[in-house]
């Protein structure tokens, strides 16, 4: 614990901290371009120069370890002149195109120029020009502006695990580029835009569309995967312009996936902005009154047990709570949320949560992945698994995929899990040796025909290999749907599962199906039933609908979401929905009145109060629960040879918003097939 004196302030920092961190601890801001807390230290920009007594020259504070008794000056004349000089060299080749640069207004170089610049420019020679590079459909490059901080290169290597970027050439001819002009094929590529301290890498779909000072920012929560990443939505007028990550150390650190960031244009297209009713086989625009009338007329004479309700992947807790209330009042108990046919039940919360917690992965030292590709199901979570791969062994059961770290493949059938439980195979040694091992069941495992058996096997493996102890729960289900844990908590599960409802609809046992944002099942199987679709986008779900009620998307309503860990988080309204579209719970409340059993709340506050009274844990905002470990869940039984496949094939097309997005469609095209699946050769292991 060295103690330093910085500008007369004494600070004590942890061993291994740098002088720059010590300065920050003392409350002094040090300018920097290349240094970033979450990347390795590079020390090339020299902007963080400070004066250290007894040192002959200024030192780069980002790369100098803090030592006992150091005396540092950060505002001496020498430091000021040093930084001025550095900035002058940095700007030597930097074009003065701030007026046409998208970084303008939120540019580190602009800000630091104001604070640390010297006099007018003295450079009179020609400036260098760098040809355009192509980093793929999401990152716009103007490499003439690049100041070679190499943050993006380090991000690609260390965080994304896709070592595609590099600095070629040297000296004045150095250029940051991808290998032979290939795109930067990572599902985290958008983060380099945030990292770039200048305007060299900017957001391509957002190019020239807004200035930062025109935007109104709202802090909210993402729904494109079940991580519940903290995001900031920037809107101008009635349009969300972009999403940026917010720091949440225990969830997404400061990264978000490309889908979270760039599916924003999906909020503009294919929107449902008024009710529709099917008349004579065609969907006709209708008023709310007519739509409710049509539902009410249909419901007369249909018994409650012939009504089913399904909730989709993007629903908030409030609308699902109102949905449950409405359908229960109608007498229906066939409620379901497991669109993918997952086999976990609602009885034991620990049986469907990511119990280790996302930040808990950092403590784990061995991991077994079953039927999951975390890179596609929760891209940001995969970063932590990459770090785990450096500390301990990771093995997988299921399809072989490139996860950007080395994985031992144990087989692709349930047999592999049975072997593991029987203590066979090399990986059992690694599991036994591990202090905090974990198992992750992905969508491919829990929705497998033998999903219930897999759950039982996983439960027993967790018990056998010490994954469960007083302070550690290594059993995890990796969800990909933002609404899933909340829906499970609300008990939106039926004994016969999703197939029970679909079969029932085919046989005629179920006459009416109410879909709340349901787009991921085979909806043609509902053709015989009367289908109500309530949702935000005209996607798969509307194809077989008889009545369409226009709801709003996640940016257009206040809502509560529970992420895969069981963390309850509140999302905010950023803008209002289009046209006639209304907050989902208000639609359900209005419909309930029409149907004669009014739901007992008029405002969202009343709804939340009621909901939290029914489900007390919904009020534990931003807390990770510690659920009791049940003796058993799942079903013991014989298994088949059906291979365990992964659930998500196309990362860019997993929900109605992403499918409506033109940018996501471009990504799909750019990264489809062999290019994206190119064999990994991991060198960071």
């Amino acid at each position: 614990m060295p103690t330093l004196k910085i500008d007369g302030i004494e600070v004590e920092v942890e061993g291994g901290a740098t002088v720059l961190q010590a300065c920050e601890a003392a409350g002094i801001e040090i300018p920097r371009f290349c240094f970033h807390e979450r990347l390795s230290i590079s020390g090339n920009c020299r902007m963080c120069l400070v004066e250290m007594e007894k040192a002959p020259k200024l030192i780069a504070s980002c790369a100098m370890p803090a030592g006992e008794g150091m005396i540092i000056h950060t505002n001496s004349d020498k430091v000021k002149r040093g930084r001025e000089g550095v900035l002058e060299f940095t700007l030597m080749n930097h074009p003065l195109d701030c007026p046409v640069c998208d970084q303008g207004g939120e540019c580190d170089l602009q800000d630091q120029y104001i604070a640390y610049s010297g006099d007018d420019a003295r450079y009179e020679d020609e400036r260098r020009i760098v040809a355009k590079e192509d980093f793929g459909p999401l990152v716009k490059t103007v490499m003439t502006r690049c100041i070679h901080c190499t943050r993006c290169v380090r991000f690609a290597d260390e965080i994304a695990g896709v070592p595609a970027l590099g600095g070629i050439g040297r000296g004045d001819h150095m250029e940051i580029t991808t290998y032979q002009e290939q795109p930067f094929a990572s599902e985290l590529s958008g983060n380099v835009v945030d990292l770039c301290p200048v305007g060299a890498l900017t957001n391509k779909p957002y190019a020239f569309s807004a200035r930062p000072w025109e935007l109104k920012s709202t802090e909210t929560i993402d729904v494109h995967d079940a991580m519940g990443s903290s995001i900031r939505a920037d809107a101008r007028g009635r349009e969300v312009m972009r999403f940026l990550p917010r720091v949440h150390e225990d969830v997404n650190e400061e990264w978000i996936s490309d889908k979270t960031r760039q599916a924003v244009d999906g909020l503009k297209y294919n929107r449902l902005d008024q009710p529709y009713i099917r008349k004579g086989g065609k969907m006709q625009p209708a008023s709310w009154e007519e739509a409710f009338e049509a539902i009410s007329a249909k419901l007369k004479g249909v018994k409650g047990d012939k009504v089913a309700g399904i909730v989709g992947d993007l629903c908030d807790l409030e609308s699902m709570y109102a949905f449950k209330g409405l359908l229960n009042d109608l007498g229906s108990s066939a409620l379901e949320c497991r669109q993918d046919g997952a086999k976990y039940g609602g009885r034991h919360r620990a049986g469907y949560l990511f119990n280790t917690s996302i930040s808990g992965i950092d403590e784990a030292d061995a991991c077994l992945l079953v039927g999951t590709n975390p890179r596609k199901e929760a891209a940001v979570l995969n970063i932590r698994l990459r770090y785990l791969a450096k500390r301990g062994a990771i093995a997988s059961v299921g399809a072989v995929e490139n996860l950007s770290y080395p994985v031992e493949h144990l087989g692709d059938t349930v047999q592999a899990l049975e072997n593991l439980l029987a203590g066979k195979g090399k990986f059992t040694k690694a599991l036994k040796a591990a202090k905090k091992p974990m198992i992750i069941l992905g969508g491919g495992a829990v929705s497998h025909p033998d999903g219930a058996v897999i759950l039982k096997l996983a439960h027993d493996i967790a018990d056998k290999y010490g994954m469960i102890s007083a302070d550690w729960n290594g059993f995890n289900v990796l969800h990909h749907a933002a609404s899933r844990v909340g829906a499970m908590d609300l008990g939106l599960v039926s004994d016969k599962g999703m197939n029970g409802i679909l079969d029932g609809a085919e046989k005629g046992d179920i006459k009416l199906v109410f879909n709340l944002g349901v787009d991921e099942i085979d909806l043609s199987r509902l053709e015989k039933a009367f289908v109500i679709y309530q949702g935000s986008h005209g996607d798969e779900g509307v194809k077989y609908a008889d009545v369409i009620l226009p709801g709003v998307a996640y940016t257009e309503k206040p809502g509560t979401y529970i992420n895969m860990e069981g963390r309850v988080q509140k999302a905010q309204r950023v803008i209002f929905g289009p046209g006639e579209a209304r907050d989902d719970w208000t639609i359900l409340r209005a419909l309930s009145e029409k149907l004669g059993s009014t739901l007992p709340y008029d405002t969202i506050a009343q709804l939340r109060e009621k909901m939290q009274a029914d489900y007390p844990h919904f009020s534990n905002i931003d807390q990770v629960p510690n659920e009791d470990w049940p003796k058993s869940f799942g079903v013991a039984g014989k298994t088949s040879d059906v291979p365990i496949a992964n659930l998500i094939d196309d990362f860019y097309q997993t929900n109605p918003i992403a499918r409506s997005s033109k940018v996501m469609a471009e990504c799909r095209q750019a990264y489809e097939g062999a290019k994206f699946e190119a064999e990994a050769m991991v060198t960071n292991g």
């Binding site: 290597d157 896709v162 070592p163 595609a164 970027l165 590099g166 600095g167 070629i168 050439g169 040297r170 991808t178 290998y179 032979q180 290939q182 094929a185 990572s186 490139n402 950007s404 290019k675 190119a678 064999e679 990994a680 050769m681 060198t683």
Partner: protein
Amino acid sequence: MNISVRNAETFEFTPENLTWAAGQLAKYPASRKQSAVMPLLTKAQEQNNGWVSVPVMEYIADMLEMPYIRVQEVVTFYTMYRQKPVGKHVIEVCTTTPCWLRGSDDVVAACKDELGIGFGETTADGEFTLLEVECAGACVNAPVIAYKENYYEDLDNDSTRKFIKAIKNGDIIAPGPQTTDRHKSAPEGGPTTLKEFCATPGGDS
């Protein structure tokens, strides 16, 4: 992730070079085999007619389990890895200050005249490539030309022409000082100091 851009072309070390490469790799721990990237690239360039092509880079990267971009960084950083095809005979003329003071302009003129090409160019028959290089590190024998692994030193216009003509005729003249009788970089006209020095081990000087 490595996205290969190599097309139909392939590159592979000859069996002799492969044995040699194994010897280089043996110098480093197995987890640090990237350390061998520079000697391996040099050898590969030699085998690949004097330049590093995309298949060469990818072959070396695969062999050392490196991302392709990391190998490209090395290749583009060092000027002695050539990224374009060159002629059979690469003549590298030093024009940095000491050589220039000692008459490298004459040497350059002789080269250009004899070969009919300028710097960075290759003769139409693919025989010669003429390159301008920064300090070759042999200033004491300026001006110099580097050819294959040898230096031709103390050159002037005539001796340069003679040197190139010899290559054209399939001869290789002996490397070292061309216009002086000195031995390597020893003083002209014999030693001037340490004349009594006896280099014999155990000598009594």
